[in-house]
């Protein structure tokens, strides 16, 4: 097999960090080549260099054996390199067809020649088995369809080297299967694919070879068929990782959180964002709310924690009706919240670490005296948390939180929330954007909370996390609970069907009582 792209000795430094250190990568024609690494390993930087978004400090790129300089995405397109970004770059109120031709429209006398474009798009979609409706609006089609549009965009531009940046992050299991098939079809037609990921199972399923990066360094390239998943993860992390979460048996306690008929109206009118949702979480239980992003999880959590409105229904925390309590009172009643967006809600990035660690408790008499902050207490407490939760930062308790890494910021939030000994811990995507080591750590902390008898409500989009960590799973679809299952009684595929709304096992009766029907 001949090599289409060769990147030799790529070095790229950002001020203070070496993002890529002498990295070598070769991509053969007709292969799926996975690029594996933790967050911060330098995968995206390397691909951005290939796509022309960054210029390397050192190193060369060869296309079909010829040295090329890629100064920008336009150069990349000319060389036949295309990229599907993790967050799609589509115009939502344009049709599929308009999005595909956007930027390369063919015109006659200044008028668009959409008919030619349509023929080509339809032909391409048939050739590669990417069925789409060219006249549908992007805002009306599913995420999986949107991804197809992105792929068609690359094909329409005659790209032969296709870069996928974490393409499965937003997909359901069924859509992932389809994507894998599409990718195999593409390489069968002679395209070459570079595929950024940190999910080992996907590599095992689809890729031919895999290049591993760690902390900006090149670790090695392996034939996927000859390599075990454990080996890959060790290459990626640099140590043995326990991929399975250890969960000792815990006797379920009393009901800590009892939600009855919770409804959150839509701001724009129409179907409520959260529609008559009822569930219970017991002490010693991790209940996971699974679902595709945007199905009402955020609104549900906002209503529970008091950040957002709760239009109907009752929220009972440990026997107290807290439906109308303020955020502060809910927190005092024993509710802790690891928020979805740690920068928006979880931290005051311009405060130092110690200030952030007391963000929920600065008002207690421990940390203030007649309105004056007790700095000794605050900084000693911060040191204590930093040591116990292994929060790493440049300047200890006085580090500007903004300068800390995402993983350590998240550890700080977890430390702060857990150390308040909550009755209920609401954790929303607590491992989003974190690397394997940090994920392992945070999962352990959640399990520990369950052991000390707290109730944990985990909202997650990651199916692996859902299956591994939870004791019970409820699936939310368009604001309604469509399934209430145990992780060992359900398959990933089944869960995917619930999440996409094509199956439901729970119907909400008029009184808000749950009734099993299947």
């Amino acid at each position: 097999m001949d090599t289409v792209i060769e990147m030799r000795g790529i070095t790229k430094a950002f001020p203070g960090i070496l993002a890529n250190d002498n990295i070598t990568l070769d991509l053969r024609r007709g292969e799926i080549h996975a690029l594996l690494g933790e967050n911060g390993a330098g995968k995206s930087t390397l691909m951005s260099i290939l796509f022309g978004l960054y210029q390397p400090d050192k190193g060369e790129i060869y296309k079909n054996g010829e040295l090329v300089r890629i100064q920008g995405p336009n150069d990349a397109t000319r060389l036949g390199i295309g990229m599907v970004h993790q967050h799609f770059k589509l115009v939502h109120n344009f049709t599929v067809l308009e999005n595909i031709v956007l930027g390369v429209e063919s015109t006659r006398n200044g008028f668009l020649k959409m008919d030619d474009a349509r023929t080509r798009v339809v032909n391409l979609s048939e050739q590669y088995g990417l069925s789409i409706n060219p006249d549908a609006l992007i805002s009306d089609i599913t995420v999986g369809m949107q991804q197809r549009v992105e792929i068609l965009k690359m094909l329409y531009r005659d790209n032969e080297i296709l870069i996928f940046d974490e393409p499965t992050a937003v997909l359901t299991p069924q859509e992932i299967d389809e994507l894998m098939n599409i990718m195999k079809g593409l390489v069968a037609e002679g395209k070459s694919i570079l595929f950024i990921t940190h999910k080992l199972a996907e590599i095992k399923r689809s890729a031919d070879r895999c290049t591993v990066l760690r902390k900006g360094r090149y670790i090695g390239t392996v034939e996927v068929a000859d390599t075990e998943v454990e080996e890959l993860s060790e290459m990626m992390v640099g140590r043995k990782v326990n991929l399975k979460v250890e969960k000792p048996f815990v006797e379920l306690g009393k009901v800590v959180l009892d939600v009855k008929g919770l409804t959150v109206a839509s701001k724009t009118g129409g179907k409520p964002m959260v529609n008559n949702v009822s569930f219970q979480v017991r002490a010693g239980e991790i209940l996971c709310i699974a679902g595709i992003d945007g199905n009402g999880q955020s609104e549900l959590v906002y209503a529970l924690t008091g950040i957002g409105a709760c239009d109907e229904g009752i929220i009972v925390l440990d026997g107290t009706d807290i439906s109308h309590y303020s955020i502060r009172r809910r927190s005092n009643e024993g509710m802790a919240h690891i928020p979805e967006d740690r920068h928006r809600h979880g931290l005051v990035l311009d405060y130092n670490l110690a200030y952030n660690l007391v963000l929920q408790s600065y008002h207690t008499s421990r940390f203030q005296n007649h309105g004056f902050l007790r700095f000794n207490e605050i900084y000693n407490y911060a040191d204590d948390l930093i040591e116990r939760f292994d929060i790493r930062s440049g300047q200890g308790n006085r580090t500007q939180t903004r300068s800390m890494s995402g993983g350590n910021q998240q550890k700080a939030i977890v430390a702060r929330e857990i150390d308040r000994n909550p009755k209920l811990l609401v954790a929303v995507q607590p491992t989003r954007g974190l690397d394997v080591g940090a994920i392992e750590y945070i999962h352990k902390q959640l399990v520990k909370e369950r052991e000390v008898g707290a109730a944990v409500l985990l909202v997650s989009l990651e199916l692996d996390e859902v299956m591994n960590v939870s004791d019970r799973i409820i699936v939310i679809y368009e604001g309604e609970i469509v399934a209430d299952v145990k992780p060992d009684e359900v398959s990933l595929q089944e869960l995917g069907l619930y999440m996409s709304g094509s199956k439901r096992s729970v119907q909400v009766a008029s009184e808000g009582e749950e009734v099993e029907v299947s």
Binding site: T45, K215, G216, H345, L373, R392, S405
Partner: protein
């Protein structure tokens, strides 16, 4: 090496950026002097720089002029720390002046010291009310505070002009308010005679300085303590830095907004009261012009980088330039030129924040890299994953340097001290 470390600390950087802004502003002022009157330019420039402290009288005048703009600067700066732009200092200042004069004139039943105190409190309250209204509109009705504040400026000015006539404190001859009875004025504590100069005839020419400046300084220190040492300051600052996070932490941000605006208004109002009670014979001119002190508070606050102690010094600096400009008249410069120069310097001072960013780029330390990464994020903001990736890369490197950083922790402490008193823009 040590100097560089201090400079690259955030406090040092703040002071340095303000200093840069001032120097550039002065250079621009010099060019204007050159253009308008080349032969006198150097002498004029020296006058601007040194006139303010050429003798005790001038120092006294500088401090006197600094008093109101320190107060409005504090007002703008305090609101700024809470994430609000109080452009309504002018209206609050005017209302404070009015209420102080009214109370001083009408409360004749009180003994003198109490009368003065009543006037000061009246000024503060009036300003606080004038600040609270936009605060309430913002908190309860989500009206942008800038719009509301601008409207309140005009309402305040016209209303005060009207009220002066209605409440019978109008001096028709001078077209201002009547003089505050001397007993109701604040005591000068001998400051006017200490900061004075002997005229050619041998008589003493006292400056206008009184005890008001002490109140202004006390206000700076008090606000510093409130912002840095108290629970209230912690809450207000978190509202300012990240309103969503403050809400998440159970802080009542609406209460914070109203309180912050009321305090900011009270500070401006107090500034107004200090001016009319200074005993320098100043009243409220009944003209359709917004009080300039309110707007001068904005550059004062910016130049002081919103730090109360910084604002104290930047207020004195701007007053110093104003006094220098006043003395410039002796050198046959048109008074407008003086205004332009002062305005140019103020204009450049507003760029202090820009210089801060440039400086932090120049003096960036390896372990301060994430700041630079944010720039990357802007370039590539649509690629969250990428930015995330580079961000955590920063940490990887940092962990390597952890030991190194910790060993210099003791120096970091001095850095932090510097940080706390930071933002002092070179007190000339």
């Amino acid at each position: 090496m040590k100097i560089k470390r201090i400079l690259s600390s955030s406090g040092g950087m703040n002071a340095l950026s303000s200093l840069f802004a001032i120097i550039l502003g002065l250079l621009a002022g010099f060019i204007i002097l050159l253009v308008s009157n080349p032969s006198q330019a150097v002498a004029g420039f020296v006058t601007i720089l040194t006139g303010g402290f050429s003798d005790m009288f001038n120092i006294g005048q500088v401090l006197y002029y600094s008093m109101p703009i320190i107060m409005t600067g504090l007002s703008v700066g305090f609101a700024g720390k809470t994430g609000l732009f109080n452009i309504g200092a002018s209206g609050q200042f005017t209302f404070g002046m009015y209420a102080a004069v009214l109370a001083a004139v009408k409360c004749s039943f009180l003994p003198n010291p109490l009368r003065c105190a009543a006037a000061i409190i009246a000024g503060m309250l009036a300003g606080a009310i004038w600040g609270l209204i936009p605060g309430m509109l913002k908190a309860l009705r989500n009206v942008h505070e800038v719009i509301a504040c601008i409207m309140m400026n005009y309402i305040g000015m016209y209303l005060v002009n009207h009220l002066i006539r209605v409440t019978g404190i109008f001096d028709q001859l001078r077209n201002t308010t009547v003089r505050v009875p001397s007993g109701a004025n604040m005591p000068s504590l001998g400051l006017n005679n200490f900061f004075s100069t002997k005229t050619a005839q041998g008589s003493i020419r006292p400056s206008s300085l009184g005890s008001g400046i002490l109140i202004a300084i006390a206000a700076c220190i008090l606000l510093y303590i409130v912002l840095e040492k108290t629970k209230l300051g912690y809450e207000l600052k978190s509202c300012g830095f990240n309103r969503e996070a403050a809400r998440y932490a159970g802080i009542n941000e609406n209460r914070g907004i109203m309180l912050s605006m009321a305090i900011a208004g009270g500070l401006s109002g107090l500034g107004g009261a200090l001016v009319v009670l200074a005993g320098a014979g100043r009243g409220i001119s009944v003209v359709d012009v917004l009080a300039g002190e309110g707007f001068q508070g904005i550059p004062v606050a910016l130049l002081g980088l919103y730090n109360p102690i910084g604002i104290l010094f930047s207020g004195i600096l701007i007053a110093h330039l104003t006094q220098g400009g006043f003395l410039l008249q002796r050198l046959a410069f048109a008074p407008e030129i003086i205004d332009i120069i002062v305005a140019v310097i103020i204009y450049f001072s507003a760029l202090a924040l820009l210089f801060k960013n440039i400086l932090s780029y120049i003096f960036r330390d390896k372990n301060e890299s994430p700041q630079i990464e944010d720039d990357d994020e802007e370039l590539e903001d649509d690629e969250a994953s990428e930015a995330d990736e580079t961000n955590s890369l920063g940490s990887v490197e940092k962990e390597g340097e952890l030991v190194l950083v910790e060993s210099s922790l003791s120096e970091n402490k001095t850095k932090d001290n510097n940080n706390e008193t930071g933002g002092e823009p070179g007190d000339s």
